[in-house]
Symmetry: C2
Subunit: 175 residues, 2 copies
DNA sequence: ACGGACATGTAATAAGTTACATGATTAT
DNA sequence: ATAATCATGTAACTTATTACATGTCCGT
């Protein structure tokens, strides 16, 4: 007990500030609001919820229809969250397999690499479009913080796309 | 055996194309060349090396001074790598705790958030400077692929810094 | 009636982190 | 001589991924 809260668990506590939610709800909400820079899976959510219930940070409300089991914040949970939130957030980390592939590009058929680049560029363009749509929808207007993180995604995708566009010049060179 | 190769292990095989290296060497080389978008730890390296030796993908050369135990690629290793390299690289994933903190910014003292933002912006500025220095040093000129990934880092850091610079306008708004 | 979304959870495994133990060699 | 760096590795643990099992309720 009183293990330090990990970021994934903490984010669940954060969402529970909005009111009681089930694991399912949390997966959906998290996917939507932090999915762009913090991945989590269903399994993780249920596991963290179970652990946090054991630790008294959340409490199960009475089970609803379809075995819905909503959890609500306890005072302990609220303060554990506040403590976590105030801590120095760690450095970001990026893991991009495509770049790994590219570092070893000399061992790969150029057309194959080109194909991968095309695919990934397309994915990023779609992601950017989706972010822009969200931004235009005004559904986040109530929360300037959420909007700011969305903005991060937009800046990121734009930069990546620009990088893709300038790549051929970089890669076609002699050497 | 014949478990699918993971990206971390595969990258070690990639580096071994340059010639036999020890775990230590690999940690250093990997840190330098892919550290920006693929983190790995010493433990992981030694574990993957042990597993790959078991699987016959690499072979230990004779131990040198200081218990140095260099590994070299086997034919099996070479072809496992080629196979891995040709595969569809998965989507990138970013995990940025600062953004998590920001999403819940409404529960945090504004000055504390501002402080975190200042710190992180500084970290990104330093990172950018370091990338630019590497780019200016011409030490990567022999490898246009490595240069391209370095470029990714530069585009990324620039975008993030720009985002930081535009943040106050975003966050100071009413609401 | 039935397909699809809702909902919870477990099992098995892989990957990643942190800390430590041990010792050799080099440079000062 | 002693501190720093080189070098290998283990132990203990936490986090993350993938796949599966089970069942409910809603809409058509």
């Amino acid at each position: 007990m009183d293990r330090p809260l990990n970021a994934t668990a903490a984010s669940l506590l954060g969402f529970l500030h909005r009111g009681p939610m089930t694991g399912w709800d949390l997966v959906v909400v998290a996917q939507e609001s932090i999915g762009g820079f913090w991945s989590l899976t269903q399994s993780q959510v249920y596991r963290e919820l179970a652990a946090m219930e054991r630790d008294g940070l959340i409490r199960a409300e009475k089970t609803g229809p379809r075995e819905r089991k909503p959890f609500s914040l306890t005072e302990a949970g609220r303060s554990a969250f506040a403590e976590w939130l105030d801590r120095e957030p760690g450095p970001e980390n990026i893991r991009y397999p495509l770049l790994l592939t590219m570092v070893f590009g000399e061992y790969l058929a150029p057309e194959r690499l080109a194909e991968m680049l095309r695919d990934h560029q397309q994915m990023h363009e779609r992601q950017l479009a989706s972010y822009l749509e969200t931004a235009a929808s005004h559904e986040l207007d109530g929360n300037r913080f959420a909007l700011a993180t969305l903005d991060f995604g937009i800046y990121y995708e734009r930069a990546v796309i620009e990088w893709f566009n300038n790549l051929p010049a970089r890669l076609t060179r002699n050497t």
